[in-house]
Symmetry: C2
Subunit: 338 residues, 2 copies
Amino acid sequence: MRIFLSSLAFAGLFTSPLAAADPPKPLTPGDIVAAAPQADWSRIAPADLMVMDLAPDAKGRARRVVIQLMPAPFLQGWTGNIRKLVAARWFDGIAVVRVQDNYVVQWGDPDGETPGKAKALPQGLSASREQDYAAHYGAAFEPPEKEGSAGYILSPEGRLQRFLAVAPGNDDYAPGTGILEGWPIGLQSQEKGGDAVVRTDVWPVHCYGMVGVGRNVSPDTGTGAELYTVIGQAPRQLDRNIALVGRIIAGMENLSSLPRGTGALGFYETAQERTPIVSVRMGDEVPGLPAYEYLSTGSSSFAAYAFKRANRKDDFYIRPAGGVDVCNVQVPVREAKR
Amino acid sequence: MRIFLSSLAFAGLFTSPLAAADPPKPLTPGDIVAAAPQADWSRIAPADLMVMDLAPDAKGRARRVVIQLMPAPFLQGWTGNIRKLVAARWFDGIAVVRVQDNYVVQWGDPDGETPGKAKALPQGLSASREQDYAAHYGAAFEPPEKEGSAGYILSPEGRLQRFLAVAPGNDDYAPGTGILEGWPIGLQSQEKGGDAVVRTDVWPVHCYGMVGVGRNVSPDTGTGAELYTVIGQAPRQLDRNIALVGRIIAGMENLSSLPRGTGALGFYETAQERTPIVSVRMGDEVPGLPAYEYLSTGSSSFAAYAFKRANRKDDFYIRPAGGVDVCNVQVPVREAKR
């Protein structure tokens, strides 16, 4: 049947045409990922993974979701809380309570807002501030206005970090966007108060599959006990208005294909509709969990991949876009070979 | 439980705070939609609707999807074919063959590529050209660089049409984007060949829920017998590379929540996984179909709504984005009051 050859780029299934029949075809983003040397892949530490097992589906099939938590210096108040909630087994027994089409899947304590019925939170959770939605970096060295070019930024600890510029100066929601150590980010440089030192705010952005923290109205910032993931067009208007604590790297389909809720905002109207969460464990607590790795976003392979995502021209694409949205430069993640 | 107040904007469920308790809250996009006068809503002609009934779900619930076809001058070769296919009842009995997470749901003849088994197409389908992916308008009067401001464009028949500018000069995929008579569009003005007359190409863009035509590699442009809809981040790189023929205005969840396919590109690997399509009829053939209307994109209500979508500041939003992606200005569609 007819297919989108273009989709091969998303699926990353092609073997490199270097190994294929000639005449060689133009490289697709998937070709570049498939041809990337092992040295260009970075392992994800199991201690930074959260493994969420949902109740089996109607046919008895297991449903596992693997979430990678944001690294320092991002949102550590919230991810610290989430680690405490996992350690306390607090997430065990809660449920998916809301599925709103083209927006979010949300999970938490169904009785969380009911005095007397709400599940007690463990002691020692921290309350973060709204300014912590972004991390404060030092000077940023802007890249030329070209997709897939490298910029450099001074981390809070004074480490010079390389990031990949995406849609330079051409994003609707942030002065700059890019991919930094595997994460889609927004950037904004500014003067600090009265003095001349440049500060750069850096924050993760709301792309498909990113995981964020449900909260009440401002100034509440949420604890991390109620989480959501994006299942539609990136709701970038939420950037820096809500805490993003990670992203789903495996099992996304177990959330995105759940029935949509029929209540206001996609909340389920009956307990029976909710999908129970059996357990949530950190990756280093789960025997036999595969090792995961992502295509290093500082690598030349990733730069070529990002450039190609903005400039498709092959058997299928007749007109290259010449640009790409930061949320359309999905960071390739795969199970590592043993 | 905790909710995103922000989501009310998407759901459009708020009653106007003009009617609510004081002190009045800042208006949300949903407030503006709810407060829009009836005169700002436009009926969608039933003859431009395609009603696709899927087989009932496992619990016996009916699953209906309503698709609005693109109006002239857009993609009429393909929509003309689709009307012929509906008239010939060709779609009756085909199936959903592919669900790729964060990409597309696709339906067609499962045997379409199998010689001897493929379902015969009706006579008289037209073969369109790649240049027909865009419509050729006349001079365009660019709006100021402000969200929600009006631009004007000369239609092929010489009618001056008002469109709403979105992300003026700030889109990754097109020189201009906006909403024209209810549809998200890209625009590009250019000189015609040797002479000085300005021509403006206008094309629909790949937002969530838009419906397009599956095809083989270039120069094939597809007939319209195999269709897909977007169920994730807008794959804007497909704009002007493939025909967009409409959008889903009701029942999207019946496609977006289908199980993802486990084969390459999300194709189902067994016939049992496919969702049968029982029938496809034009809206004026379906007794009791509700009347649908959309918020007129030339209205002041829509301009205010679009501006608000770019500038959220209320109990929930602490930091307005100051911009919005054309695919995040969802055109409000509702069942008309009888």
